[in-house]
Symmetry: C2
């Protein structure tokens, strides 16, 4: 695969990068690299693009590793539709490309199919064969479609005015209410 | 600041890394590096830790750059409480450390205060002075507290069984219903 600056990665180089960022060589992230590359190849080089990922599992990290779209800058959004698909699109007009894993094409690759549909326990998964099938399959596991994002989805995120919460004294967005959401009881810790 | 493997970064090295990952030297990410370091310094080295970030703006990327917690592996979760705070905690028992920007301490740093509370337009922001104040302030902008995560928050995320959607023919989690969420109308594109 390759990144947004056209730096190409061999299969092994990319797996090395995955380990450093994601912690382990997740198969979904290996496929994700090819998917990001396929979308990048189709985008006009002159545009600024944002991205949407339809699953929170693995795939967002392929986007974060190979483009400048991240969770923290908001150029990557995860919309949890549960499908193994990602889109890169023009930040201004919303037109772009969606790449998804294609159920019809996956049938040609038994080890990929077994992993993707969890047809056998992880302990029985043959990782060497899985990687070999992924390297051989290349782009032949995916389909691409053109998309246009809904206008509401293109709006820039804004924090708006902030103030100090009268209870915890930390700054928070005033639109959340009279006290911050943490003090409203939404904090996941004690 | 430093990362989870104890590699230290000078102020300028870290800003260079921010630009490559996040696209531009966001002030929130500069502060975030120090916050992650402060939490790492307090965690027992022998544990596996997860993280929670209380804002989706900038700060999640400091965690992703300096630890192995990412959006895609689920070891980073964003809980949008709107507070500039992050926590690293023991994946198993939920005990850990929360670091937040401290409204009382920020008063000593006029340029940081002006940026954080958006007291002047971005065009009038003096970036050199802002960076200088951040480098000088170091840890003296933040407070740390011990936390314990709610048990429900520690549960491992699972996709569960998947099947091909009868409409789009893509794989999706069966628990989403008879058809996938995309085909239910939740896709943000046409
Ligand atoms: Zn509060
Ligand atoms: Zn569907």
């Amino acid at each position: 695969c390759r990144d947004h600056t056209h730096i190409p990665y061999t299969f092994d180089e990319y797996i090395h990068r995955i380990r450093r960022f994601h912690g382990y060589a997740a198969p979904g992230l290996i496929l994700g690299g090819k998917m990001v590359s396929m979308a990048l190849d189709r985008l006009d080089e002159s545009i600024l693009f944002d991205s949407v990922c339809e699953t929170a599992f693995c795939l967002p990290d392929a986007i974060q590793m190979l483009t400048l779209c991240t969770t923290g800058n908001g150029w990557l959004k995860v919309v949890p539709l549960g499908r193994f698909a990602l889109s890169l699109y023009d930040k201004l007009n919303g037109s772009g490309f969606r790449v998804h894993i294609d159920s019809a094409k996956i049938n040609a690759w038994p080890e990929i199919k077994a992993w993707f549909y969890k047809l056998k326990p992880k302990a029985e998964q043959d990782n060497d064969r899985l990687h070999e099938e992924m390297a051989t399959a290349g782009e032949n596991l995916f389909s691409v479609q053109t998309i246009r994002m809904q206008p509401a989805f293109l709006e820039k995120r804004e924090v708006g005015p902030t103030a100090d919460c009268p209870i915890c004294h930390e700054a928070y967005p005033v639109r959340h209410g009279r006290i911050c959401r943490g003090c409203q009881g939404s904090a996941p810790y004690r």
